[in-house]
């Protein structure tokens, strides 16, 4: 089993707290009485996997692969074209 350093453990805890906070932020953005539940479900389902992947990558502690870097640049490109998000 991989031994994590105290810094890594602290970072993972922050990631988990952050993911939960972001999920809460995103779901909290929509007043349920105004938006059909199915839209809320779609928003959450789309948002959570990204946060989970961030945590998994943090736990793995590996340097980002070329594919990871490429994926980040894809996100950067998407932010430049936000209507596609």
């Amino acid at each position: 089993m991989t031994q994590l350093t105290p810094e890594q453990i602290a970072a993972i805890k922050l990631q988990i707290d952050g993911a939960a906070t972001i999920a809460e932020q995103i779901t909290g953005t929509v007043a349920p009485q105004y938006v059909p539940l199915i839209i809320l479900g779609q928003i959450v389902a789309d948002a959570i996997p990204g946060a989970v992947a961030d945590i998994q990558n943090m736990i793995a502690g590996n340097a980002p692969s070329d594919a990871d870097v490429q994926a980040l640049w894809t996100k950067i490109g998407a932010l430049g074209n936000p209507e596609s998000i």
């Binding site: 602290a10 952050g18 953005t29 929509v30 059909p36 928003i43 948002a47 990204g50 980040l72």
Partner: protein
């Protein structure tokens, strides 16, 4: 309150990633994850707005439609700026990996701080917008 919590989290994450960066002597996976987190947070919020707009826009009043379009302009401009900051941050991260001079590290720290501010602001803006929505 939630926005404050997120800001506190982001500040903590920066401290942790910078600490990890110092301990490894170079750009770390932690900084890369911080970049991803900033991108994912902003994209999640933008996606929430886009879904809301696509579903609700046709049924709202002209005044509400105007409000949605006005907000969209501001949100998309913020997204583009975040993307530009992310591009600079990622470029600096790669540079620090091969040349970890204090100048490069300081620049990276500054862009990370800007990244957190921009991502948190986008999430906060969308949250504020949707909380003020009075669509039927």
């Amino acid at each position: 309150m939630k926005s404050i919590t997120l800001l506190i989290f982001m500040a903590g994450l920066t401290a942790a990633t910078l600490s990890a960066c110092k301990s490894t002597g170079g750009a770390s996976a932690g900084i890369f994850q911080a970049e991803n987190l900033a991108a994912d947070g902003a994209m999640g919020a933008t996606h929430a707005f886009n879904v809301y707009k696509a579903q609700m826009f046709p049924a709202t009043t002209p005044a509400e439609q105007f409000r949605i379009l006005s907000f969209q302009t501001n949100l998309y401009a913020a997204d583009v700026k975040l993307g530009a900051t992310l591009a600079v941050t990622e470029t600096l991260r790669e540079q620090v990996a091969t040349n970890s001079t204090s100048t490069n590290q300081t620049a990276l720290l500054l862009t990370l701080t800007a990244l957190e501010d921009q991502s948190s602001n986008i999430i906060g803006l969308v949250r504020l917008f949707l909380n003020q929505t009075n669509a039927p």
